[in-house]
């Protein structure tokens, strides 16, 4: 059973505590929406779960592999879309995805097939041979997404996957996420509250590095008299 277990995760930058003692577990089939105002610690948490940042204390277990003591095994299980979807701007999407595929251990026909599938899945076909720095924001985001799902990972961690996309593209990405949800653990961060209703089975609201609410979108909405997630978000994070 795939899972992400986060226990007592903490990150200090000098005197500033970005994430304070965060613990939660996400199981297969869950799509966890990670909500919070800017600077709440969402990205920092994701950077620690994916092994980019070393936590000040605590750890995360990815499908049983500890990200601190078994980083390579844990990273193999993860597909990660970092904030801003960084890539190598001088490459084109196809070469870039081939590079990622090789690092992910895919070879030969399997690699080619998989890269082709993913390009089709995120609709990159018409820009596959254009260098990444000439692509629009939406296409760059899709390159990042393609890179994250390339090896069909058990755990998907997406930092603002729909940021900068137009409404149609948002819809496509959400459909893509929903279709993958069953056999994966998915954690995504977002500012967009409607996204939580659209794709998430569970939402965690964090503020100042702490969890202030955890439940299904319906449970969270129920906390406000008007049954609106916006109000809950405001009242919890202000």
């Amino acid at each position: 059973m795939n899972s992400v277990e986060i226990s007592h995760l903490r990150k200090d930058f000098g005197r500033f505590t970005a994430v304070a003692d965060l613990s939660f577990t996400v199981k297969q089939g869950e799509v966890l929406g990670f909500l919070g105002p800017n600077g709440a610690g969402k990205s920092t948490t994701m950077k620690m779960i994916t092994g980019f940042l070393t936590p000040t204390a605590g750890t995360a277990k990815i499908c049983g592999f500890d990200i601190l003591s078994q980083p390579i095994d844990a990273k193999k299980k993860i597909g990660y879309l970092p904030e801003g979807a960084p890539a190598y701007p001088d490459m084109n999407p196809e070469d870039f995805l081939n590079f990622i595929a090789e690092i992910r251990g895919l070879q030969g026909d399997i690699k080619r097939k998989r890269v082709r599938e993913v390009i089709e899945k995120v609709n990159l076909g018409n820009v596959a041979h254009q260098s990444i720095d000439t692509l629009s924001k939406g296409y760059k985001r899709r390159v990042g997404l393609a890179q994250a799902i390339l090896h069909d990972p058990d755990v998907l961690i997406l930092d603002e996957p729909t940021d900068g996309l137009d409404p149609n593209q948002k819809h496509e990405v959400r459909t893509l996420i929903k279709n993958m949800a069953k056999e994966k653990v998915i954690i995504l961060s977002t500012h967009i509250l409607e996204e939580v209703n659209a794709v998430c089975t569970r939402a965690i609201i964090i503020a100042n590095g702490k969890i202030v609410a955890d439940g299904t979108p319906e449970q969270l909405e129920a906390k406000s008299p008007q049954k609106r997630l916006d109000d809950v978000f405001r009242s919890m994070t202000m």
């Binding site: 994916t50 980019f52 993860i78 960084p86 190598y88 590079f99 992910r104 260098s131």
Partner: protein
Amino acid sequence: MDNINIIFKRELNGYFSTPIAYVFIVIFLLLSGVFTFHLGGFFGRGQADLQAFFTFHPWLYLFLIPALSMRLWAEERKSGSIELILTLPISITDAVLGKFLAAWAFTGIALALTFPMWITVNYLGSPDNMVIVAGYIGSLLMAGGFLAMGSSISALTKNQVIAFIISVVVCLMFILSGLPMVLDFFNGWASQTIVDVISSFSFLTHFNAMSKGVIDLRDLVYFISLMAFWLFANIVFIEMKKAD
């Protein structure tokens, strides 16, 4: 090993998919020609060797290698792709070695393209070709030393200009410490041991021997341990400063 190879290939292709490769190679060939024939007095010396060519390599590398190495890590940090590469299932060591080896192979290509020089000297006279081979090996090793330093300094900053300037200064120190001018300054008051230590850190001391055809184990050990030390520092710097 596989991972190093994959990173290596991507990086090396990267040089040739941007103008960097062509600009670097053209400038390198142009300057090495100018130095050899004008400053080095290749024809005037009337000797069938490539001393005039190799003598200027430390000075050529002083500016060209930092220009190549400055982007190695600074650019990854600036664009955020460092987050991508360090969350892939590879170790930092793989990434550092892959990038370094690609940059080194690239300077190797530039160096190999100076072959007309070799042909010229063989056409004009009958040089000792083994001496020339030793000179090329020495030059390549020295380029590796400069690159390892530059790569590690590039890991400390997001700013390529800063990486360039600091690398030039550090490389300059490693060249100057072998010049008589600097050694004379220490000769006055420091003990012979200290003077020897300072001069033994210099690229010049080790490279000059090789460019004259002497491949001494000590010189090889020097360049290889220098690279190992700076690459290790590179790994430590990335581990420490990756998120800043």
